[in-house]
């Protein structure tokens, strides 16, 4: 296939750690094969060269935290046939959404000596709260094999095979004994979206929810269990307020427990 007929892929960055876009470069065995099929048209972390849109696929990393970025995502949507968000920041606001529960002005003055130089929005928000998103890939960081699956699915016009069940199912599949039942270790696995491969329990620690909420999670039941394991209310708030703090199910659950402290 001549180079000019390859579909164009763009990678965009907002507030984030660069880890999810690095996942593409971390496909050491597959990267050159991917570039046989798609033209990397815009990817500043990897290339000086850029090709103008429109783009067949835009991968968007990071959350919206400035007025300028809120305008930029609108322009990106206009030049993208498919817009796919990659990672916790782009799909839920990320760890930086912890500001959403506080007064951002106080945060600015805690970190910066001259707060008047800093331009930031009150809240860190997901891409989908600004523009329509075609597909959201979860994880902090995303799973690179899932990223390859999503890219190839869209290239061939099929639905990505990315299951939505909880981390619990993965533990059962890989034969990891439940850390919560057997060892009494608090674990977010029952409410957390699969994708990581249930790594934490296989390393003897509880899941900390870095893939965000599974579909229809029963967070209330899990909180009750955490409580029985000795986790205090503020511990439950912290457990739900990490990398997916501003996803709706985790946010609501954390707010319930915050209120009980009042």
């Amino acid at each position: 296939m001549p180079a000019k007929r390859k579909p164009k892929l763009a990678v965009w960055k907002f507030a984030s750690c660069d880890g999810c876009q690095l996942s593409l470069l971390d496909c050491e065995d597959e990267l050159l094969a991917v570039t046989d099929k798609v033209a990397i048209a815009y990817f500043p972390e990897a290339s000086r060269a850029s090709v103008k849109g429109p783009y067949q696929i835009s991968l968007v990393e990071g959350s919206i935290t400035t007025r300028h970025d809120a305008e930029r995502i609108q322009k990106i949507r206009k030049v993208s046939k498919l817009l796919i968000t990659i990672g916790a920041c782009a799909t839920s606001g990320g760890i930086q959404a912890l500001r959403n529960f506080k007064d951002v002005k106080e945060f600015v003055s805690l970190v910066y000596a001259s707060p008047q130089y800093i331009e930031t929005l009150d809240k860190s928000t997901s891409i989908a709260s600004h523009v329509p998103v075609d597909y959201e890939l979860h994880g902090c960081p995303i799973n690179k094999m899932q990223l390859l699956e999503v890219i190839s699915a869209y290239l061939y016009g099929r639905k990505p095979n990315v299951p939505p069940h909880s981390v619990c199912i993965d533990c059962k599949q890989r034969g990891t004994v439940c850390v919560m039942v057997a060892q009494g270790i608090p674990c977010l696995g029952p409410v957390t979206h699969t994708g990581c491969g249930a790594i934490c329990p296989s390393y003897n620690r509880g899941c900390y929810g870095c893939y965000g909420p599974m579909e229809t999670p029963n967070t209330a039941s899990l909180s009750a269990w955490l409580n029985r394991l000795g986790v205090k209310e503020e511990g439950i708030v912290r457990a739900f307020r990490s990398f997916y703090a501003y996803s709706e199910p985790f946010r609501k659950e954390s707010e319930l427990h915050e209120k009980q402290d009042d």
């Binding site: 984030s16 690095l22 971390d26 506080k102 106080e106």
Partner: protein, 429 residues
Amino acid sequence: MKNKTIKVACLSRVEGEGALSVKIKDNKVVDVKLKIFEPPRFFEAFLRGRAYSEAPDITARICGICPVAYQMSAVHAMEDALGVTISSQVRALRRLMYCGEWIESHALHVYMLHAPDFLGYPDAIQMAKDHAPIVKRGLQLKKAGNEIVTLLGGREIHPINVRVGGFYKTPTKQEFAPLAEKLKWARDAALETVRWTSTLTFPDFEQDYEFVALRHPDEYAFNEGRIVSNRGMDIPLCEYENHFTEEHVQHSNALHSKTKEGGAYFVGPLARYNLNFDKLPAPAQEAAQAAGLSAVCRNPFKSIIVRSVETLYACDEALRIINEYERPEEPSSPVQPRASTGYGCTEAPRGILYHRYQLDGNGSILSAKIVPPTSQNQKTIENDLLNFIPKYLDIPEEKLVLSCEQAIRNYDPCISCATHFLKLHIERE
């Protein structure tokens, strides 16, 4: 072109977002500003009220390229605060994990981000069309580093196995066997990388820098040591803030670090190499010398060779640790919260990364301070451009812009880290 403005819309092949603006008046560079657009994320603010145990996983998210560095500085700072001693095997495993991150991060920078500048390609993918075996070697070397991090950390980005006191789980000796085979290939590939980078063409550019790095009496420092410089500084970690300050300038969302005397300083591979050459084992020293380096290198463009030497060292060190490994009885030491303050400083791939935490009696974080390597190098990068550009004012603008970008990439700047960085804009009046 006496007075002029040159613009580059977006600085590429760096981690994060920023720009550079250069003002030229009467054929003199009058101002250089490294602008960091990367939006602030306020880690130091939202760490307040979190548990001491959460710092390694939260601060890892400052940077997806060097999460291990954040985890290491965080756990050492917490252990300093809480008076925790770690076992010798836990110490060795942390060093091994750091070797993995150095190999991964250095191979990424040498092959994917920096080499295309020297060979005249926009990126490694285009470079692969003419130099496929080289790019493939780089990718496999990077992969070997990632495999160390994955075995010890569960995954390469934001590993999950690091905790205050040690690890959640330690590997068995047998689990290292396949990795050791890969590392034997990687150390040869790294040696080849040193030879290959030494054949590149380097601009003649040497500066009198103040290099700052950790120094340890017995080894090439990763996790422990005193902070030293080539101008006589020799301080324990807890005195860091008495010797360095952060300045908030309008053009950057990253704070600029400087010495208390107001000087710029240089952290990262070149600083480590210059201050700790004597601590490198013979094979790394010999490879450096065969590549034309002496014990001190003041040309930042040659950092690509130094990164390759450090990659070779990291492979050898990883093999040594794996060879001597005995699984510790306990994966971590017990930790008891107490009201205290702790300091941590480790050698991230890009240079020293400083953490300080103040904790209350329950182990809750009262305040946090994090100084990443790129914010420490910002002033030095600006100075390099001030001194570098005047020599090249007569070359075509496109080439000048490329040379400026290359001069910035010498530092492997990580803008995501520094904003707690690059579009190029040269203005000639």
